[in-house]
């Protein structure tokens, strides 16, 4: 779930360097001492636990540093102790690697392969032998002129907008909550717990409760808005049908997601030393400019990962629309993942569902790659 990059280092630096060095080693160049320093700070997202200074806790793996790591590793390799430790690292990572292969990689590869077959109820029991149809699924289903293609591309666009709104909204709320609670307000332990309730609740429980509240005839939302505040001219609007359904889903998703942003940002804020603010306020900086020029830059590395993770989760959102609207979402609120579900399981057209999944995967890979290159390295400089 949450990125495991916040473990303060307990393993000595060389082990860490080896861990990073699981990537192919490049030829050693540059003085060892210089190469070592950045590698030590490069507690990677997926490699070894971070070893850096406390400042590094909560920071993502800065790409720029990881790239230099092989230098250090190449040097370490020369000592026998380094070799043994590197072997140990491989042993340690093997079980996780096997499970990763079994749970993620193989099913993903199968999913890609299914996208090139005509898998339906006729060959489902013998699905390894489903007829191979090449690019037919992509051509048939993703032709922007066809009904299915249109629904796919409009769902893709809608999901992008949806992601921006949900992640943006959650971030703003989370940041506001974190800034508020990192000052010494009264009852902050209570508020902190309260704010985390939506995150502690299983998504299904929370969403089912929202579905009841959004019910047009008897729901709490309409009772409040229409009966108490007298909005909408006494006409009860629908929240789970038609145009409002997207709004309703955004509300529910922000409600479930913002505590995560709050938690991460609160952790990041607690690593900003208080004397920086003191110095700034002595110099006459306003609260707003303190926020803009101290808080934001200081939490930037944490932010980079936070936004990425929230973006990926939201783009792939399935639980909330499924519980809110049932197996088929309203056209106005159709996101990509529910659409893929509907094509695969509703229409038993697994080939087409697979093709859509592959395109979704590609889109996400490209977006993530751009994001990682553009956003994350910059974060490293502020470390």
């Amino acid at each position: 779930m949450a990125p495991k990059n916040t473990v303060p280092g307990t393993i000595p630096a060389p082990a860490d360097a080896d861990g990073v060095g699981l990537a192919p080693a490049s030829s050693a160049s540059g003085p060892a001492a210089e190469a070592l320093r950045p590698a030590a700070g490069g507690g990677g997202t997926h490699t070894a636990p971070g070893t850096g200074t406390p400042d590094d806790a909560g920071s993502p793996a800065p790409r720029g540093r990881a790239r230099k790591a092989p230098d250090a590793q190449a040097i370490r390799r020369r000592t026998p102790r380094g070799k043994a430790e590197s072997r140990l690292a491989y042993y340690l990572v093997t079980p996780a690697g096997l499970m990763e292969l079994l749970i993620h990689i193989i099913p993903m590869a199968l999913g890609i392969w299914i996208a090139f077959t005509a898998l339906n109820q006729l060959n489902l029991t013998n699905w390894l032998n489903a007829p191979f149809v090449g690019l037919q699924n992509f051509v048939n289903g993703l032709n922007p002129e066809s009904t299915i293609g249109q629904s796919f591309f409009s769902a893709l666009g809608r999901t992008a907008v949806y992601t921006v709104i949900v992640v943006g909204g959650s971030w703003i709320l989370g940041m506001a909550g974190a800034v508020f609670l990192s000052s010494k307000v009264r009852g902050r332990t209570f508020l902190r717990t309260l704010f985390l309730v939506p995150y502690a609740l299983p998504t299904y429980v929370g969403t089912i409760a929202w579905a009841f509240m959004f019910n047009q005839r008897d729901g709490a939302v309409n009772q409040l808005l229409v009966d108490v505040f007298g909005l909408f001219g006494g006409e009860r609007p629908f929240w789970l049908l038609g145009e409002n359904s997207l709004t309703a889903m955004i509300v529910v998703n922000i409600w479930t997601l913002w505590p995560f942003a709050f938690l991460m940002l609160l952790a990041a804020l607690q690593n900003v030393p208080g004397d920086v603010y003191e110095a700034a306020s002595l110099d006459g900086a306003s609260l707003w400019s303190q926020f803009m020029h101290i808080t934001l830059p200081m939490v930037r590395p944490a932010n980079g990962v936070l936004v990425l993770v929230m973006g990926l989760w939201t783009f792939n959102q399935f639980n909330i629309p499924f519980v809110l609207f049932g197996p088929s979402s309203p056209a106005e609120a159709m996101l990509v993942t529910p659409l893929i579900y509907q094509n695969s399981f509703g229409s038993w057209n697994f080939g087409l569902g697979g093709a859509m999944s592959v395109l979704l995967l590609l889109a996400m890979l490209v977006a993530t790659a751009f994001y990682v290159r553009l956003v994350l390295p910059k974060g490293a400089q502020h470390d």
Binding site: L102, I103, I106, P107, A109, L110, N120, Q121, L122, L124, T125, N126, W127, L128, N140, G141, S146, T147, I148, N215, Q216, R217, F238, L240, L241, G242, E243, G326, P327, S328, P330, A331, Q342, F345, G346, S347, W348, N349, L352
Partner: protein, 442 residues
């Protein structure tokens, strides 16, 4: 190569299982003849899953006494059943015996995951001649050994609140569609004078996909349409089908005799509750009597479904599809003999009387009809509807997809009617979209 495939298959099966909400009862492993154990997935037929468990446990106890075979029962709600079956079929890991909605019979038959009802199996249940022919017709595609055995029969009828009818001075239920719309208009009113309508002519679970598919089929038939042509090609958007669906959606959009709130309703029991509470005067339903009984509600009447043309015969006089649930044996079952015996037990005449009486459905075996339990008005009407005015849903492999696509289209049209207006062109576009998706899937 082979190894990788097997590993891959295992991994995929595992992931499918995990995705499929896990918790699937795996088929009883024990092959001991002495203490055999089998798993039975039952659909929800009673007022609640608990009610089903009670009814079925009693019957299964008798089975265990007779045969010594233990049955692990799981009752599954309709909304989950299709996915559960799909997961079981894909992974090959399912129950020994399971219920299916009879409209899925052909689609599931095509997967080859169920045991054909022939030879030993057919003998065990006493041959097909014991069964009502309308029910047996839903067991599988024509010209092939069926892969399911009819268990419970159902048919749509018009149920109405007699008190509200009296109040409005209506003495007979409507027989034609025009009369029905007129009657519904008379019954739609504001009873407490607050300017808002609080009693509606008809209520239905317009947000349920299956409901949309069923009424598209019935209304389309009455206009001379069909979901598929003779070659099995989809014909969702012919004029007759558009007329049928438009007529159905117009109840909310144009005639305003159905509450817009119904567009959010996904559960048939809620429509029946509206009828009991006097919020609606009529419902089209397969089996509301169990709900009436549970609420001690007696002011109800039952009538045949209205017809577009009151004098029609044949296809245009279709009032219902031959509805109901069937029972199948999973091909991967380790205990097929025990599974056959369970199916034989469930379709035994006495058990048929017990089960169908408890669920207020109709038996599928002819002998059971003589029982006094089925001599009441509602059961008699259903029997007549099934015999003279019902057809099976299309017996083609794509029936499952059709239900999803057309049903979703109708659901969305109701959503549109609830928040705005629906024109005939909207109906045509929605059905054409469904048709295009169907063709792309083939």
């Amino acid at each position: 190569m082979k190894h990788t495939f097997r590993l891959g298959a295992a991994a995929a099966a595992a992931s499918v299982l995990v995705l499929g909400l896990a918790a699937c009862g795996s088929s009883g492993g024990g092959g001991d003849a002495g203490s055999q154990e089998i798993t039975y997935w039952a659909t929800n037929q009673g007022q609640s899953l608990d009610h089903d468990r009670e009814v079925l446990s009693e019957s299964l106890e008798r089975f265990t006494e007779e045969t010594g075979i233990k049955v692990n029962l799981e009752v599954i709600p309709w909304t989950d059943m299709y996915n559960r079956i799909l997961t079981a079929v894909t992974s090959g890991d399912g129950p020994d015996v399971l219920n299916i909605g009879n409209t899925w019979a052909v689609t599931l038959q095509e997967t080859g995951a169920f045991e054909p009802v022939e030879g030993e199996f057919l003998e065990a249940i006493g041959g097909q001649d014991r069964f009502m022919s309308a029910a047996w017709a839903t067991a599988g595609a024509e010209g092939k050994a069926p892969t399911s055995v009819p268990l419970y029969s159902q048919a749509y009828s018009l149920y109405y609140n007699t008190e509200l009818f009296e109040e409005a001075g209506i003495d007979a239920p409507p027989a034609t569609w025009d009369e029905f719309v007129e009657t519904a208009k008379k019954l739609t009113k504001d009873t407490d004078g607050d300017g808002k309508i609080d009693q509606w002519g008809i209520s239905t679970e317009a947000g349920a996909v299956t409901n949309g598919a069923h009424h598209s089929f019935i209304r389309g038939k009455q206009h001379g349409g069909a979901m598929f042509d003779a070659d099995g090609q989809p014909t969702f958007n012919t004029d007759a089908q558009i007329d049928g669906v438009a007529e159905w959606v117009d109840l909310m959009g144009t005639h305003k005799v159905m509450s817009p709130s119904d567009a959010e309703m996904t559960n048939g029991a809620d429509a029946v509750a509206n009828l009991i509470d006097g919020r609606a005067a009529m419902v089209f339903n397969q089996n509301p009597v169990k709900n009436f009984t549970a609420r001690d509600f007696e002011d109800w009447g039952v009538a045949p479904m209205p017809l577009v043309d009151g004098n029609a015969t044949g296809d245009r006089a279709v009032m219902s599809f031959a509805a109901g649930s069937n029972v199948s044996v999973f091909k991967n079952s380790d205990s097929k003999d025990a599974a056959y015996q369970l199916v034989a037990h469930l379709t035994d005449t006495e058990e048929q009387v017990y089960l169908n009486d408890a669920y207020t459905s109709l038996p599928t075996v002819a002998d059971a009809y003589d029982a006094e339990e089925f001599q009441n008005e509602s059961a008699k009407l259903k029997e007549k509807t099934l015999a003279d005015h019902a057809q099976p849903m299309p017996l083609v492999a794509q029936e499952g997809q059709m239900e999803t696509l057309v049903g979703t289209a109708v659901k969305n049209l109701f959503a549109q009617a609830a928040t705005g207006t629906v024109t005939r062109a909207d109906v045509e576009r929605a059905l054409t979209d469904a048709q295009n998706q169907m063709t792309a899937a083939q």
